[in-house]
Amino acid sequence: MADVNITVDGKKVTAPAGTLLIEACKSVGIEVPSFCYYPNLSLQGACRMCLVKVEKMPKLQTACTTVISEGMIAITNNDEVRQARKSMVELLLGNHPLDCPVCDAGGECELQDMTFSYGAAESKFMEAKNHKDEQQWSPVVYFDRPRCILCYRCVRVCGEAMDVWALGVQNRGVVSVIAPNKEDHLECEECGMCIDICPVGALTSGAYRYKTRPWEMNHVGTICTHCGDGCKTTLGVRRSDSGMQIVRGDNRDKSGINGDFLCIKGRYAFDFADDPQRVTTPLIRRDGQLAPSTWEEAFELIGKRFAEIRDKEGGRAIGVVGSNRTTNEENYLLSKFARVVLKTNSIDHRRTADFPAFAAAMVGKPHAAATMRDVFNAPAILVIGNNPTEQHPLLAWQIRNNVRLHRARLYVINSRPIKLRRQATSFTEIPQGTEGQAAAFLGGDDSAAEALGSGSREMWVGLRDKLRGEGKLIIIFDSAIRGKDISALVKFGSAVSGAKFVCLGDYSNSRGAADMGLYPDFLPGYRPIADASTFKDEWGDMPTAPGLNVSQMAEAAAAGTLKGFYVVGSNPVGGLGLDPFAFSNTFVVVQDMFLTETAQMADVVLPSANAYEKAGTFTNTCGDIQLVKKAGEVSDVKSDFEMIVRIADATGFEVRKLVPFGGRGTSADMGQSRGAQSGEADRHVVWLEAHGLEPKMSPFDPMAILDEIQRLVPGYDVSRMNLLAGNDQHTTTVGTGQGGVQDAKLIAPANDNLFTSGTLGRYSRALNSVIENRNPEPAEEVAAD
């Protein structure tokens, strides 16, 4: 759009036509105070804080609703304007309880800030303030009317941005009040967006309220550990008996791929971390019972047994299961450890999507993988299958708000009337389980239309033509589409110029687990085992035949040929239904936070740190790689990274060959072994010195492995500087050839909904309290259409 020139306080400002005066002022560093204005939400003109003088206008004008026009002259700081602001604050404070000393928002409250900057010191009012008691609307949302300044941000974020419409205004005049959708309580998605956006302490969070003051916390920016979308979150961390406690999750840092967004899990479900059921000491099975042991004893036992089995039965007798929630560095290390130290290719994880087929289909199209940011900007989006609102809340947010703000055209093909249909230009219902056929049809297999239910063939052909006509389409699908259907879909999409794709995996690092080669037949970067040469050069000797997948491991265990089973951050018994009795004669080692169904059958259980307690990187489902930062030190647990290294060491392996620290590595670290909060440096120093190693070059430093990942895994060669600065970087992983056609049975999607998150979710008090409080009807039905 053409640019418009205006003058603000004597400064020349040039901004695109259509820009709001408040934004134009901001662009040259002139702050115009505001309460009700919030970027990307509808304009209100309600709080009148942003009144400024615009020449030729008799009255002061609201900068938040005034669109700039050529030659406009605005004054934001004369006596009249200052007086208007001052009186607005005075009026707001009139009925405000001024309970800042106990208010959650105290210290980060916009009303406090405005009062400080623009307000008056004395009060003119003598009468009693209007009062209303505080209300609890849901396990996680509380409302304190007297603090509310009626900026309507909560109402808008819930309605316009979340498409839930659970909040509204009741009554009128001075007794106006924000009200929840079910008379006295909320039935909603419990995202807490309303709380986050509230400029004052009127909406408070059940998880955080009255726990601490903002300035008493450390604020650590990291990545949510739940679904595969990879929201950036800021954890509020406090010291506690066990080292640290996370008391709050929010997104004060809006630079992430999620902007303003967090769902209930990112915002509240960090509380599994301080669940009393956490394992806090290594356990070794003695006389049939898991009993506490020391770390040294545990590592020694594991190292000895694994080495014995490997040397006596061969590496094939050991199976390894990795995790969807451990870091890339840990997954890469585990993949290497299995092949190089244990000499086995029998390594797997819970596969939540057919990433190898996707990688294969992307050969030659390194820029065809969409980023999470792309989803917010694409002119057209096709979603086949999945229910993003429940399974990929951020993705749903991106789609929804892209449609709302940029008028993207959304095409939905689904077997259920998912909530996103409300944003859709076109919604096509298909029978359950026919997503693959839909992909095949789009890919040109007209016979596949037979399976697609009532829609006529003409309708399907019409839809296909329409999609072909879309420039820059993003095609999104999940594990319902696999193998050759993925290649058909990618082939179809590629006929659309500039099309991009998203293959949805379910957990926080599902994509990373796949990229890092937690497969019996693929090395990191989907390189087939048979084509291991590069890795051989780096890693040294390793077995060349594909190993066993998870279910084959269970069969082998039942048959007595799997003697060792090493499970890192996964629960294949609970999650994949493996028979625990099959492993009766297998030496089972489990690294986990909880005594899961799998841990309960283990011979050794090692208490592990979760993603909030360590550093590394995660790759989200779109392939965006982001830095995971350690929120603080927790005693009694170790990162999986450290444990893998310690086990390798205990088998007698030369650790330097596993983690190239020192020599070829790097001297930087990720705060894992250094830093004010970490405290780990001291612990490591003891071990390192005992082994005659240089303390600053820790083998427990994920950075050393990140170096190797960036060198060896195609597409991971992103800017290290940006990554460490906390910016999302897009990987462009492509297969190196024919992707393996995976056994469809091996793909086990998480099927989580908004309020569940696999095993982790079971230990979240916040999620459980919401589930218990729930009406059986889904949120969608209660929301206004």
Binding site: L43, Q44, G45, A46, C47, R48, M49, L51, P58, K59, L60, T65, Q83, A84, S87, M88, L91, L92, G94, N95, K124, F125, M126, E127, N130, I149, L150, V169, N171, R172, G173, V174, V175, S176
Partner: protein, 438 residues
């Protein structure tokens, strides 16, 4: 409502009052629907020019030239255009639309249809104040009768032009008389005003270009079409064409609604048309155009009642509600009663009006009860002046303007209430005789 009359009256809008014109046949016999038929033969621009030249200015309060307003509606529009009749009449002191609905509902319908022809709209809504339930029944019947005769609906008067008229009732909110809040209400939402621009003429009801006019404005239109612009404009003063229904209330011998030419002298209106003040009491003050207009003192009333003259006199013609207060009236109590209304009617959307009216009412209650301090008087002024011109819609101004005038013009009465002094008027037993508002 009891009908009154006075020889000075010039009956245009009220010409069918008391003549049974709610009955369609009677209405037709009294020149009813002739104006629509005439308008059907005119060019749309011709209609607009006629109304523009008549000098008809909005009777809802703001006094904008009606024809000019119509001319802002774009000729081409992808969305349907609408005509909206504002019959929310809730301004204290105002009770004229009520008489039109009661005695001449078809005139409103006719005005709506002509406005539709002028701007190329095919749909009209008549929005009637919630409390006027009995009038809604009358209006519904009138609409039904007109449909039955083919005067509304498809192919009106066999002209090939379709026009539908709907009735809609309010839910009891003064604020919904504000044009954009009225549209929200009509669309089934909370009655809260909209951000302008865009203005209704471009983006109004359901997003379509919309003409919104007061019921009296629209009821005047058929007379202009039949009588001609020149005739109508000559009835009033320059730029203030025609006549208007003045609602005289308060301390008067003959209160009531009188139709007088624009520019009629206020003093004459009070002493001759309204019959003067009862019981030989002295006049203290006059609220000249509904409760939101600044009060005039007894010395200020020798003024012509038209939009421009009253503006010059420091007040406004507003909605035509003339409230007369005699010397027994406590201005503090009157200011309090006025503020009570605005506090109650504030929609609460914006800070200055929502909070300001609350604190003004609280302070005035205390002050009237004798608990006032000297600084309270300044605070009342301070609050009002800081509301003025800074609210989201004019309701905030409507609360602030009269308050400022009360304090500035009657400061001594406020001071007399300070420091636990009893209200002098209360003691004299005048409370019951204060005009009842709202």
């Amino acid at each position: 409502m009891h009908l009154v009359s006075h020889p000075d009256e010039v009956k245009v809008v009220s010409k069918r009052f008391g003549k049974g014109a709610t009955d369609l046949d009677r209405y037709l016999a009294l020149d009813g629907y002739k104006a629509v038929q005439k308008a059907l033969g005119m060019q749309p621009d011709g209609i607009i020019n006629e109304v523009k030249n008549s000098g008809l200015r909005g009777r809802g309060g703001a006094g904008f030239n009606t024809g000019l307003k119509w001319s802002f509606v774009p000729k081409q529009s992808a969305k349907p255009k609408y005509i909206l009749c504002n019959g929310d009449e809730s301004e204290p002191g105002t009770c004229k639309d009520r008489l039109i609905f009661e005695h001449d509902p078809h005139a409103v319908i006719e005005g709506v249809v002509i406005a539709g022809l002028a701007v190329g709209s095919h749909t009209g809504y008549i929005y009637i104040r919630g409390e006027y339930r009995y009038l809604s029944n009358l209006m519904q019947k009138a609409i039904k009768d007109a449909y039955a005769r083919g005067l509304l609906g498809k192919n009106i008067f066999g002209s090939g032009y379709d026009f539908d008229v709907y009735w809609h009732g309010g839910a009891g909110a003064y604020e919904v008389g504000e044009e954009s809040a009225l549209m929200e209400s009509l669309e089934g939402k909370r009655g809260i005003p909209r951000i302008r621009p865009p203005f209704p003429a471009v983006v109004g009801l359901w997003g379509g270009p919309t003409v919104i006019n007061n019921a009296e404005t629209l009821a005047s239109v058929p007379h202009i079409i039949l009588g001609g612009a020149e005739w109508y404009s000559n009835l009033g003063t320059p730029k203030n064409g025609g006549t208007r229904l003045f609602c005289l209330s308060g301390h008067l011998n003959r209160p009531g609604v009188y139709e007088l030419p624009m520019g009629y002298n206020l003093k004459k209106m009070i002493y001759e048309v309204g019959g003067g003040i009862p019981n030989r009491k002295k006049l203290k003050a006059v609220v000249p155009g509904g409760s939101s207009t600044p009060v005039l003192t007894a010395d200020e009333i020798d003024a012509p009642m038209d939009f421009d003259s009253l503006m010059k006199a420091g007040s406004m013609l507003g909605s035509g509600g003339v409230v007369v207060l005699d010397e027994t009236t406590c201005i503090v109590k009157f200011a309090l009663r006025t503020m009570k209304f605005y506090r109650h009617e504030s929609c609460g959307w914006c800070i200055p009006c929502r909070e300001g009216t609350d604190w003004l009412e609280k302070t005035l209650i205390r002050l009237h009860a004798g608990g006032g301090l000297k600084k309270d008087i300044d605070n009342i002024l301070y609050l009002s002046e800081n509301m003025l011109g800074r609210t989201f819609c004019p309701l905030g101004d409507a609360a602030a303007m009269p308050t400022i005038a009360f304090v500035k013009k009657f400061r001594k009465e406020f001071e007399d209430h300070l420091e636990a002094r009893p209200c002098a008027f209360e003691a004299a037993g005048s409370v019951e005789r204060l005009p009842v508002m709202a």
